[in-house]
Symmetry: C2
Subunit: 348 residues, 2 copies
């Protein structure tokens, strides 16, 4: 157990000029050679690259970026990267950005505007090339405009910001929730509750609207207390189960905000001695990998996470490469995946 010091003993910093002097060429030539410029003779290039590798040269991106004003950094900020819904989006963004050798700088904002602002500020200070964001609740269009005006192009995912004229990629939530609700109605359910979510995001409003549309089109009554709003976590779903089961109207089915809420709810239903999919039907939303192996396997709505991430990343890369891109929303069409958590209603 010996003590370690802050810095290793680096003999002395190796830089372009170190190589240039050693090989008797100019720094311009070294710079061009290392970036495979056709302006440099093959033999010169090979000599330079070989020598650079040999002495362990490390390219200084700060210096380069200061000069070129391109950093190779793309920021990504979402509510919570540990949420599997965002996780799946992030994976496809990562794949796309890796391909273009962009470094991606990730952050959570936990729906806190000031955390989001701090992050955007960091990106501006680092001279990031662009940002992909799922905006925090209450993000004003002005915040988006500010970063854009400072040379940081933005692309939105999952949520839109009214008044912000940038590309947005998200699922068609109204349509998707209607799919789930209609599925329950077609099984014979009449008393259907919606659990989770909030009116404060575009997603929240849209999903509730989809539920309302489906209920009303079927001529079913919608009671205000049939909506149990709340966080979008397993824990919240678990806790909502008590409120749900104690409901005097004995609802027979629940349309859940997402798979996490649905899985939590199903756990709560089990704890109460009932069987989800038999005694109570439950639908999720997102079709996380986990949905298929839940018990019972969860009927849910596939929300195109991969697609959202892929298209958002590509659109941003296009903007970086000077390709013109359309502002405005692009909706991915969701699909219903029927599994075992839904069935015909039984009277309790």
């Amino acid at each position: 157990m010996k003590t370690v010091s802050r810095r290793g003993s680096l003999a002395q910093k190796i830089k372009l000029s170190t190589i240039a002097e050693a090989l008797g060429v100019s720094t311009a030539t070294v710079s061009l050679a290392l970036r495979d410029s056709p302006l440099v003779a093959d033999s010169t290039r090979d000599r330079i690259k070989e020598y650079a590798r040999e002495i362990g040269y490390i390219y200084n991106r700060r210096a380069a970026s200061l000069r070129t004003s391109r950093s190779g950094i793309v920021g990504v900020v979402v509510h919570d990267i540990m949420n599997p819904f965002f996780a799946e989006i992030l994976r496809s963004i990562e794949t796309e950005l890796d391909r273009s050798r962009q470094t991606f700088l990730l952050s959570n904002h936990y729906d806190k505007l000031d955390k989001q602002r701090t992050f955007l500020d960091t990106l501006l200070q680092l001279g990031a090339d662009g940002v992909i964001m799922s905006p925090a609740i209450g993000t004003p269009a002005e915040d988006i405009r500010m970063v854009e005006e400072n040379g940081l192009p933005a692309v939105l995912i999952a949520r839109s910001v009214p008044g912000a004229d940038v590309p947005v990629f998200r699922g068609d939530d109204t349509f998707g929730t209607a799919l789930a609700t209609n599925h329950l109605i077609s099984l014979g359910h009449r008393r259907i509750v919606m659990i989770g979510g909030t009116d404060q995001t575009s997603t929240g409003r849209d999903r509730y609207q989809g539920y309302l549309n489906a209920m009303q089109n079927a001529g079913l009554e919608v009671r205000p207390d049939w909506r149990i709003p709340g966080p979008r976590t397993k824990q919240a779903g678990f806790e909502a189960s008590q409120q749900f089961l104690a409901h005097k109207d004995k609802p027979t089915a629940a349309v859940c905000w997402n798979d996490l809420v649905a899985i939590g709810l199903m756990n709560g239903i089990y704890r109460a001695g009932l069987v989800p999919g038999v005694d109570i039907s439950v639908t999720g939303y997102d079709d996380l990998e986990e949905a298929a192996i839940a018990t019972p396997a969860l009927t849910t709505v596939w929300n195109g996470q991969r697609e959202v991430g892929r298209r958002a990343a590509r659109t941003l890369l296009d903007r970086l490469n000077g390709i013109e891109v359309h502002g405005g929303q692009e909706l991915i069409r969701p699909e219903l995946h029927v599994r075992q958590s839904t069935g015909k209603p039984v009277e309790r």
Copy 2:
């Protein structure tokens, strides 16, 4: 739907000298004022800061960092940030780093050495101040030494790298797995299987060793085919359930690599018409938030994720601040949390 161009129309870049000229002071004074140096008169400082805010000045960290060779960036690389085990560690790292106003740059390596190397390289190029890593399987000590020698101090979490003389924070896996195994033995189980994990990581070897120790200390037989190695996911646990249930020796309990595997296994047990915690006892590892709301609530080993993250971050920050720090491993002592997924054995 109008087209958006790559860059907003930024009138012209505002920099220190813009402010200096406007206010008739030097850039040195502006620089010092913005960083609250006591060298600057209060009134001068206030004038400068006020004006900077007014015209929307954005600090250029690349330029500053080029000059000072400190970037304010700390890299964090783990197998998979979406894995809830790492997620909990990351959250506490985030909290610590936020407090010190360090930007944290996150990456997955998915246990691919070259992805890890690319990331470390990026950190070196960006002049990152330090790195916290859960090293990919097979990471040679040489890789750690290289980054350290290039001025990037490293701290390891969750896994150690033999021969690398840097601080390591992880749970005491041998002890923890022995806790779980002993718990099952004390309930009366004799045929206990270990599911998930691999011999290729220090964690994998240690956890298996803990299981072996407990079994042997109790004088119980350990058969080679009582180990079902595999990935550390729900999916893997789910799939292992078939192999487990088909076992000719009819094991009555399973020590799982982690909570994810345990939850997947329990789902598989349900699917087979058996009840975990009654017909088969199952233990997890990590005590994720999810463990407490699983069905049945999972008996598991708390692994000190928060603690690991917090101490790793603090140790790195100490190194950055020139405080001497001890290399070598620090083990967090795990605790057994008994819930409903374990009980006395029943003969099948």
